[in-house]
């Protein structure tokens, strides 16, 4: 039976390989490029490290997870089909070793690594892929967000190792989300009556470097290195995941986490700007080294190309006050960006000029030049306001006639409570606007009420932030269609040229051509000023215990320290 199976497999392999080589020249095959991990020196294995987790993960199942804590846990337990090299963004084989994309970019055939195994020793097969895909696409599965990526995708299993995704309409990021597909084990869930509430969703059977040993809710999660891990000798993995035991301590309070880090109870921490300025380089300066060799703990400050979160003021364009671009531009000229950066972000942020990460290839390079961007300029602002018809009668508040009625320039600026940085920004904005004759009323509401106001468009202007992402799609926030159904275009931005460019960018597969389109979108949005782009995180700020070493701390496209490379200094 074993021989028969192998013969069938060999026949398929011959067919598959000849198909790959003989088909049209448009067909794209995965080409393995050398990665940093292959060149790494051999590292020690062993030891225990404690990391902080802000909250309990909601699930330990990659199909159901949507919160960052669940995603953090996922990273230890499961592998996707391919990983992205954080230095180059090239694909690195993970569960799969090959892919072939058809000439029309509608078929994506993958080959699984024959070595790939679940932690119970059973092989990872196409059946697992099929089961995961079918479970994901079942509308009863609570995976709506992930499922939305796979709308219009179907899956065909070829054999135990090969399978093909067919997509109706290929887009620029189709390969990215297909390679990021994380299968779960069919055996664990095939008899499950209700997948969403199955006990297995908190009892993971993974295929990655770690195995979950114990979970004490709201206290800690313990992971042990899987010493029989199938990928442990593969070139891209043999020197990674060196720590024997990883304990995620659940500490919601950032101040307590900071003190625990200083004491050595947790070994790595990410700082915010305030902690960095007031503590790390302030009152606790003596406690920190700048290299691992100097002190018990040390601090790391590094720039890289990972798109960072950015903060902005959003103008509700349905409000007559903000409908004219001249007024919006004037409002942007009236923001003291330098003061915000100095006093709120301690010079650790830069002025943001793009929704796609101001320093990435998706953003217009011209907007990185100081003379091309909007900076604090009251004279320019007043002249633009005048051009748009705002008048000053000496009362201290500007006015204008809108639809036959005298309207004072007064509005409410919303922000979410428990965010002192945003409140400080609101106060700075209020002060400078007042000097120009614009009255701002600040309103802070707790997060859920804030979201409610935003979704119901019950606001005039607000301060908020968006996360950064490596492959941004402008459709979510900037397409006019995204205004409907509580969509992300909550300011009702509508520019047909931008809509057209978004369509174009989403079907452009050539990365550099796509970058050019995205840059144009960035340019138009910046001219229109529907948001006043405020600040963008500039540095990755990390605290590390000196007992850890690593051949590389942060790579080009990573959002934090490369903890998979950590090992203990003996």
């Amino acid at each position: 039976m074993f021989i028969k199976k192998n013969i069938i497999l060999s026949i398929f392999n011959i067919f598959f390989c000849s198909f790959s080589f003989a088909s049209s020249t448009d067909q794209v095959k995965f080409e393995k490029k050398q990665t940093y991990y292959e060149r790494m020196p051999k590292l020690n294995k062993g030891g225990v490290l404690h990391f902080q987790l802000s909250n309990d993960p909601k699930v330990m199942n990659p199909l159901l997870s949507e919160d960052s804590e669940s995603n953090s846990v996922e990273g230890y337990l499961w592998m996707s089909l391919f990983n992205l090299d954080p230095e180059t963004l090239n694909f690195i084989p993970a569960l799969a070793t090959e892919y072939v994309i058809s000439g029309d970019k509608k078929s994506y055939t993958f080959k699984l690594n024959e070595l790939a195994k679940w932690q119970d020793g059973t092989p990872v097969t196409s059946e697992d892929i099929k089961f995961t895909f079918d479970t994901l696409m079942n509308p009863k599965t609570h995976a709506a967000a992930l499922r939305s990526f796979f709308e219009g995708v179907s899956l065909k299993v070829i054999d135990n190792l090969h399978f093909t995704f067919h997509v109706e309409e290929p887009k620029f990021d189709t390969l990215n989300f297909l390679t990021a597909f994380i299968p779960i084990q069919k055996k664990q869930f095939e008899l499950s009556k209700d997948f969403n509430n199955d006990k297995g969703i908190m009892n993971p059977i993974g295929n990655s470097a770690y195995v979950m040993e114990k979970y004490l809710r709201s206290q800690k999660i313990i992971f042990k290195r899987n010493k029989n891990w199938w990928a442990k000798d593969l070139p891209d993995y043999k020197n990674r995941f060196n720590i024997d035991e990883i304990i995620l301590d659940i500490i919601p309070d950032p101040n307590l986490a900071y003190e625990k880090f200083l004491k050595g109870d947790i070994d790595q921490i990410s700082f915010n700007a305030e902690q960095w300025n007031n503590k790390v380089t302030g009152i606790d300066k003596e406690k920190f080294g700048t290299t691992p060799q100097q002190k018990k703990v040390w601090s790391l400050k590094e720039k890289n190309k990972f798109p960072k979160p950015y903060t902005f003021i959003a103008w509700n364009l349905k409000n007559p006050l903000f409908q004219n671009v001249k007024t919006r531009t004037a409002l942007s000229y009236l923001v003291d960006y330098k003061k915000i950066n100095d006093t709120v972000y301690y010079n650790l942020y830069t002025q943001s000029t793009s929704p796609f990460g101001s320093f990435t290839d998706n953003s217009d390079p011209e907007l990185r030049k100081k003379d091309k961007i909007i900076t604090f300029d009251k004279t320019k602002a007043l002249s633009l306001l005048k051009e748009d018809g705002w008048m000053n009668d000496g009362s201290g508040v500007l006015f204008k006639e809108i639809n036959g009625k005298k309207v004072n320039f007064e509005f409410t600026l919303d922000t979410n409570a428990n965010n002192p940085a945003r409140l400080k920004i609101a106060q700075i904005v209020k002060e400078t606007y007042k000097t120009a004759g614009i009255k701002v009323n600040i309103r802070t509401t707790e997060w859920n009420s804030f979201l409610d106001n935003l979704n119901k468009r019950n606001f005039e202007s607000l301060i908020l932030g968006w996360s950064g992402t490596l492959f941004p799609n402008a459709k979510q926030i900037w397409d006019s269609s995204s205004e409907k159904n509580e969509g992300s275009n909550f300011i009702s931005y509508n520019n047909p040229k931008v809509d057209e460019l978004i369509k174009k960018s989403n079907i452009e597969f050539n990365q550099s051509k796509r970058n050019k389109i995205m840059q144009e979108i960035n340019r138009i949005i910046y001219q229109d000023q529907p948001y006043t782009f405020l600040s963008e995180v500039n540095f990755i700020l990390e605290g590390l215990n000196s007992k850890i070493n690593s051949p590389r701390w942060i790579s080009t496209y990573e959002s934090g320290a490369a903890s998979d490379l950590f090992y203990l200094v003996k």
Binding site: D56, K58, V59, E66, S68, P139, H142, A144, A145, S148, F149, N196, N197, I201, M202, R217, S218, Q219, I247, D249, I250, I251, P252, D253, L256, E259, K260, K263, D265, P307, P309, Y310, T311, E446, W447, N448, S449, L451, D452, N453, N455, L464, G465, W466, S467, G468, T469, L470, N473, K475, Q476, D479, S482, E483, N485, E486, G487, S488, S559, G560
Partner: protein, 344 residues
């Protein structure tokens, strides 16, 4: 008296439904909820974190996702229907699952209850153990140096919130910032990492090490007012006619204080005795987060913030019952302390 207590017990039923129905209505009309929160998280809204999985959600996706999440969280039905379903479920002790962690709501409470109780119970007894004798001695030595110094200290501890004490204790005794010989206590948490491997005695020591400061901070927050109350009550009693008569009869001071005065002077303090049940079961929303204790207090805060309806309602049930039974307990304690009291 029996009839009175039977009536009190029966009154619990309508009171319980009134309390839970009110809360169910209130939380139903709170703006925002788990659906909006989940969508915002998926969209990358907030901008404090790193990257997000999805940034391509169009309006149709949002509409579909909203509906799916409403079904997922059981929010697709009208509030009244949901309340009746909830009542039906809790009658079979099914409190539903947490909307955020998917674990049964009651399991989360059961997991966290020992943590809240392990500093709530010692805190309660210590509060009474310190407040009663201190108040009595202050009353007996009214105007003395001891009374002046004690009153001054009580004034300070009353003026400073428990929150501040907790933070100060944490910084002084749990870090090596101030003490030359380093930290005396662990920096928050409930147990050490190696707790499971410890012997029974070492487990007890470990628990005390973790609970000492939280208990101290909660006691300081409570005992001042109790001590002052006890002092005033004692003063009132020892100035009364029957104590003067007892003194005139030549009874010893100890007999007068402990046999005649104290029992009556304790009555005002007993007013809040039953309510303490609620405090035990509700945890502390001040002390727990500071010391990283994942108790009921922290759970209440987190669940309210994330509109985790099932967990909030499970806590409301627990607290409602604790308050209602606590009132009956109060009546019983009154009778024990003063047998002259008779309920009709």
């Amino acid at each position: 008296m029996r009839k009175y207590f039977i009536r009190r017990f029966l009154a619990i039923i309508p009171m319980f439904f009134l309390m839970t129905a009110s809360y169910f209505c209130i939380q139903n009309y709170l703006p925002g909820g788990p659906v909006q929160e989940a969508i915002a998280r998926i969209r990358g809204m907030g901008g404090e974190g790193g990257s997000t999985k999805s940034t391509s959600m169009g309006p149709e996706d949002i509409k579909k996702l909203t509906h799916e999440l409403e079904v997922q969280y059981g929010l697709d039905k009208p509030a009244l229907t949901r309340y009746f379903i909830w009542v039906k479920n809790i009658l079979s002790l099914n409190f539903g699952d947490s909307l955020t962690t998917r674990a049964p709501a009651i399991d989360q409470i059961i997991e966290r209850l020992p943590i809240s109780l392990s500093f709530g119970i010692p805190g309660f007894f210590l509060t009474y153990l310190i407040a009663i004798p201190l108040g009595v001695v202050m009353a007996l030595k009214e105007g003395s140096k001891f009374d002046t110094i004690s009153s001054f200290i009580l004034f300070i501890t009353y003026s400073i919130p428990a929150l501040v004490f907790a933070v100060i204790f944490l910084l002084i005794f749990c870090t090596d910032r101030f003490l030359p010989f380093g930290a005396l206590f662990p920096l928050g948490g409930w147990r050490s990492d190696n707790y499971e491997d410890l012997s029974f005695i070492l487990k007890f020591v470990d628990l005390i090490k973790h609970m000492f400061l939280p208990v101290l901070a909660s006691v300081i927050g409570n005992f001042t007012i109790f001590a002052m109350l006890q002092k005033d009550s004692m003063l009132e009693v020892i100035r009364s006619d029957y104590i003067r008569t007892a003194k005139a009869k030549g009874l010893s001071d100890n007999v007068i204080v402990f046999k005649h005065a104290l029992r009556n002077a304790l009555l005002p303090l007993m007013v809040g005795f039953g309510a303490v049940l609620g405090t035990f079961l509700g945890g502390s929303i001040i002390i727990e987060p500071i010391f990283g204790l994942p108790g009921i207090g922290v759970l209440s805060l987190q669940s309210l913030a994330s509109r985790d309806f099932n967990v909030v309602m499970a806590i409301v049930v627990l607290q409602s019952l604790a308050i209602l039974f606590g009132q009956i307990l109060n009546d019983i304690v009154y009778v024990i302390v003063d047998p002259r009291i008779e309920y009709k």
